[in-house]
Amino acid sequence: MTVRHGIAWLSLLIGSVVAVPPAEATDQPAAGLPPHARAAPTRNELYAAVRAYEASLGTHALAAAIPAFARKYGMKCSACHLAVPLLTPFGQAFRDNGYRMKNGNDDLRANDPSYWPLFAWLWKDYQLDVDRVAGQTVQRQGGFANGAFVFGGFGSISDKVSFRLFPVIYEDGLTFAGHGWIRYNQAFGTDWVNIKVGQSELDVPINPGREYNMGNARFAVLYAYTVPGSVSRFNVLFPQPGVEIMGHDRGSRNRYMVNVFNADGAPRAHCSFCAPGVFGRVTHRHDLASGFLRRVQVGAFGAYSTWPVGPDTSDLKGQRRLGGDVELWLGSDVLPFRVTVMGLTGRDDRALVPTATQDPKYNAAMLQLEYVPKLPLVFYSRLQIIRNQRQAVAGRPDDYGDQDFQLVGVRHAVELTSRFAWLLELTYWRQTIKQVAPGTNATHQQLWIGSHLLF
């Protein structure tokens, strides 16, 4: 690593250290906390509230490093992944093509009979978690967390049909049915129309399905955010069941995606498509022929979803999310310093918050930095900020439910072949939720050391 690289990463570390609040820092309520938590909370109540909030943030994020592809096509993971799981443009094109190289070897009938589009992925990690409320440590626990075994299948079974499905089995016996879909490729003979049916991840920037750390899904907290007190559980973080149409040009420099879905987890008392929504995204990537700036990608996305309120599930109320992102590749096409900036604004119908007096609005932003100094090594850092612009309940503190999130980490591939990958990872992240009680902030910090084995 050169001096300038050292300066860069030292700066990131300084940023993270600066972010740690002083011991006397105070805090306030998080999204979804019961109103009574705001009055004279005990430490245990605060802790319970924080854990409840954290639990509401969802399950583990699942990256899509698929050694089966490496086996099928004889390529290393690093061809498609800038650093697993972040995609290279080549990997993005492969994905957009329905996991096809389009070189005549995609059809299962063209493959060796011994090949199956299956993969296995195991991880085990040590976690140290520290919860602080109002500057006091209320919980500190460490130990080896439940690992998981993923056995799934992705790929193309013919030139026209691609699929994806994987279940996750955790050590505690919990089986989590991962999302699955079937896709019809190149409808009408063009790359611009591909139709996917099933539960598929939404094409958001910094795709939550491609997180680094497998410990949990809070790395994309701004996608998972719901305004305090909202009954809606919709967020763009999770795969949504529905129909997706997407298209792209050669090399996936220009892409679009439209997904019509039923909000995952919505009550289905009277119908099977009770909470319809739509998500769309367009991106454009431009490769520069010379200069330090190598690649620019700009994108815009939006979602309108509905969620039933009250006993009659036909009483749907809306949520809007609009965002844009810019991605810059600096210094190198192959081993870049990558900067991603994303902004998001959200507005919910007041009826989604039982005590609301006005439509809540919030803004969120994310800055992600990644640096790949050499092929099997990536340093990464992420900042996320959520700011409520208008509270659902008039009179609440302006920063009620605001959040700050910082993350730094490093991942190294000990082995990275066309047959298997062994990855080691060290991550530290910190999340602050403001006003969990009047004048009180809550902070969760985690040190995560993990080992992934994929084959």
Partner: protein, 265 residues
Amino acid sequence: MSARRPTAIVAAHIVGALALGASPVSAQSTGDAARGRQVYERYCIQCHGARGDGAGEVARWSQPKPRDFRQGVYKFSSTRYGSLPTTADLDRVIQDGLYGTRMPPFAALSTRERRDVIAFLQTLSPRWRTEEPAKPIAIPAEPAPTRESVTQGRELFEANCSKCHGDGTGNGASGGKLVDDWGTAITPANLTLGRGKWARTARDIYLRTMNGINGTPMPESGDALTPEQVWQVAHYVQALGAWAGSTAELRKVAGELPPPSAAVP
């Protein structure tokens, strides 16, 4: 957290980005072999090997074998048989891949990445230092394919091609005995599939017929056939399958003609 903290964090990140951006950047307009090595190590090394010798990790499972760049012999070229290809030839293979082989299309790579990796490939063989890349052969304008050109092409095909390619499916009498310059058994292309490893259009068929395929028994025909005759062969081959530009009418014409007689019975 105080209001200053997000500002401090963002400032620290910006300093980091600027520190990385402070280094001078090469203003070379042509490919940079050093950068090309990085591209190679990400995308190519698993097949073509760390030394470019075609003995990468998955070469043992690959058929046909990955190219050994040290020899400077490239199968598909717009130049005369035996000569070095042009940069555009290499770029085409990188962009389009070789259909039916492990070589995928790398159309998603930037122009600079492709240019750089070509520069790196050119460091792997001394041929690039001792020989001047040849110029692409001149390709006369394609005459419109007609019943007559397909019929004429069939006769030329039978006389010059069917010994290996048989009736077009690759079932020629010599087909099972062919080896390439690296000693690997190879089979003649099945031209009825409507697509070759490299060729997709009548122009591509023209080039392959005229220039042959380096390192294989597929010879150049430049001295044996006139350009007009090569176009006729190209039109006949095009009519054997659903090649780009092929029409149902031309395929019907080819189907009505007797198959070339050199096919294995």
